[in-house]
Amino acid sequence: MNRRVFRRWVSNFMVGLMLMAVIVAVAPLLFILLNLIIKGASSLSLDFFTRMPVPAGETGGGVAHAIVGTLIIVGLASGFGLPLGIGAGIFVAEYPATRLAKATRFIADVMNGTPSIVVGVFAWTLIVARQKHFSALAGACALAMLMIPMVMRTTEELIKLVPHSLREAALALGYPRWRTSLGIVLRTALPGIVTGSLLSVARIAGETAPLLFTALGSQYMSFHINEPMAALPLTVFTYATGPYEEWHRYAWATALVLILVVMVLSIAARLATRQRLSGRG
C-alpha cells in the first residue's frame, strides 16, 4: 500500500470518528425534542396558552398562569441581574489588576459552579424564611443570583476582545477615560453582550430548583410579586409528578412550551447580533 492511499485512509477514518462524535452529541438533543413534540404537541391548542388550569379530573384548561408567571419572574430577575452583571463585568474588565476585581472574578467563578438548588435554598433562608411566605420576588432574586456571575463573565470576556488600539485611539483623540470605556469600548462589545445576556435569560427561564423554595408555584393567575406564583418549570414539575394520566400529558405540553420560549429567546439573540453585523457592511 503506498503512502498516499494510506494517508487518505487515515483521513477518512478520522473524519468518520468525528462524525460519530457529532451524532452521539446531537442525538440525545434531537431525541428529547422529538419526544417532547410527539408527547406534547397533541395537547397544545390555543386554549393551552390562554386558559387557566381546570380541577383534576376534568379535561381542557391551560397554563396561561404559568406563562405569565415565568414572564414576570424572569423579567424581574433580568431587571436585577442584567444591570448588576453587566456593571460588574465592565468593572472587572476595566480594572483587571485590582484586588477587588480579582476577588470578584474568583467569587463569580465559584458561583458559576454552584448547583442552582443551593442558590434556591440560600434565597429561601434570606428572603422566604424572613418574610414567612413564598413569593415571586424571592424566586426572581434566586434567578438573578444565578444570572449575575454568568453575565459578568461574558461581559468581561467580550470587553477584553475589543482591541487595545481602539482604546488608545480614543484616548489620543482627547476622550476622557469614562467616555472611552462607555462610548467606544463598551459600544463595540455591545452586540456580543446583548447575545450573552439573552442566552443567560434563556438559561434561567428553565431553572426549576431555585423556584421550588421561593416562588413555590400556584394554580391561579397572579400578578402580585409578593405572593407565590406559577412558572413553567414548576408546572412541569407538578404535572409530571402528579397521579393523573391527563396531568402527565400536560407536563409534556408545558415542557414543550418552555422549550419554545427558550428557543424564541435564543433566536432573538442570534437576530440581534446578525443585524448588528450586517449594519457594518
Binding site: P163, E168, L171, A172, L173, G174, P176, I184, R280
Partner: protein, 255 residues
C-alpha cells in the same frame, strides 16, 4: 505676530517603564510647519519617545518620564495641564488603522469634535468635509458618509484616521509608522498627504522606512538603543552623517 520657531521640544527627556529606561536624555526641537522623522531599528525607543509627546506614554503600564516637553514654551507635564485637553492639541495616528467600528465614516471624523458638546449641524458638516478633503479622502467617500467605517480599505481607513485626528485642529500631529500596515499604493497616498499637511500642522513621524523619511521629512533624528544618536536636516543626515552609527544604519549595514 511671528510663530514661535520651535513649536514642540524636549529637554533631556527620559522615558521609563517601571525601572527600565526606554528613552534616555533626548533633547530635540520640532519647528513649526515641518515634517520631522524619527528613524532607527526596532526597539530603539522612537515610538516610546513619540508617545511621551502627547502623554500617551504614561498610560502604558509603569510609564513615567523625567525631563521636560514643551509646546509653545509651556511644559505639557505641568500641574495645570489636563492630558485630555493636551491630546486635542497634539493629535496622534497609529500604526494600524483604528476607525471606531460602531461609527459611520462621518461620525468617525466628527468623534473628536463631539467631546466638548454638540456643534451646530452645519458647522459640523463643514469641518467633516474640510477634514476629509485635507486627508485626500473626500472624493472617495462623499456619497457614503453614513456607511460603516469598516467598509473602507486599509489605506482609506488610515486616511480616515488622519481626518479624524486633524478635525479638531490640533497644532501638532504625531504619526506612529502610519504606513506600516499598508500596501505601496496606500503608502504613497499617505506620504503625499503628509507633505500637504505640513502647511497647517507640525508633524512628527516615526518610520522604519528610510526612503520614506528621506522623501517626506525636513529633519531627521536617528535613535539607537534608547538614545538619540544624531539629528539634523534630513538631507545632511542622509548624505553626510556625522556619527558612524548613523551612517551604518542608513547605508543598511544593520537594523
Amino acid at each position: 505676530m511671528a510663530e514661535p520657531a520651535h513649536r514642540l521640544s524636549t529637554d533631556r527627556l527620559t522615558a521609563m517603564y517601571g525601572k527600565f529606561t526606554a528613552v534616555k536624555d533626548v533633547s530635540l526641537s520640532f519647528p513649526s510647519n515641518t515634517v520631522n522623522a524619527l528613524i532607527g531599528p526596532s526597539g530603539c525607543g522612537k515610538t516610546t519617545y513619540l508617545r511621551t509627546l502627547n502623554r500617551m506614554h504614561e498610560l502604558s503600564e509603569g510609564g513615567w518620564i523625567t525631563g521636560r516637553v514643551t509646546l509653545d514654551g509651556e511644559d505639557i507635564y505641568g500641574p495645570k495641564v489636563s492630558p485630555m485637553q493636551l491630546r486635542r492639541r497634539i493629535g496622534m495616528v497609529f500604526q494600524k488603522p483604528t476607525p471606531f467600528p460602531t461609527m459611520s465614516i462621518y461620525d468617525n471624523v466628527a468623534a473628536g469634535l463631539r467631546i466638548n458638546g454638540r456643534l451646530p449641524r452645519g458647522e459640523l458638516d463643514d469641518v467633516v468635509e474640510r477634514s476629509l478633503r485635507q486627508a485626500a479622502l473626500w472624493e472617495e467617500v462623499k456619497d457614503r458618509l453614513k456607511l460603516s467605517a469598516l467598509a473602507l480599505s486599509g489605506g482609506q481607513q488610515q486616511r480616515l484616521c488622519i481626518a479624524r485626528t486633524i478635525a479638531p485642529k490640533p497644532e501638532v500631529v504625531l504619526l506612529d509608522e502610519p504606513t506600516a500596515s499598508l500596501d505601496p499604493g496606500g503608502t504613497q497616498h499617505i506620504e503625499e498627504l503628509v507633505f500637504e499637511l505640513k502647511r497647517d500642522f507640525t508633524i512628527v513621524i516615526v518610520t522604519h522606512n528610510m526612503q520614506q523619511a528621506a522623501r517626506v521629512s525636513d529633519t531627521t533624528a536617528f535613535f539607537y538603543m534608547g538614545q538619540m544618536v544624531e539629528s539634523g536636516p534630513t538631507r545632511q543626515i542622509f548624505t553626510a552623517p556625522k556619527q558612524e552609527q548613523t551612517e551604518a544604519y542608513i547605508t543598511g549595514r544593520f537594523g
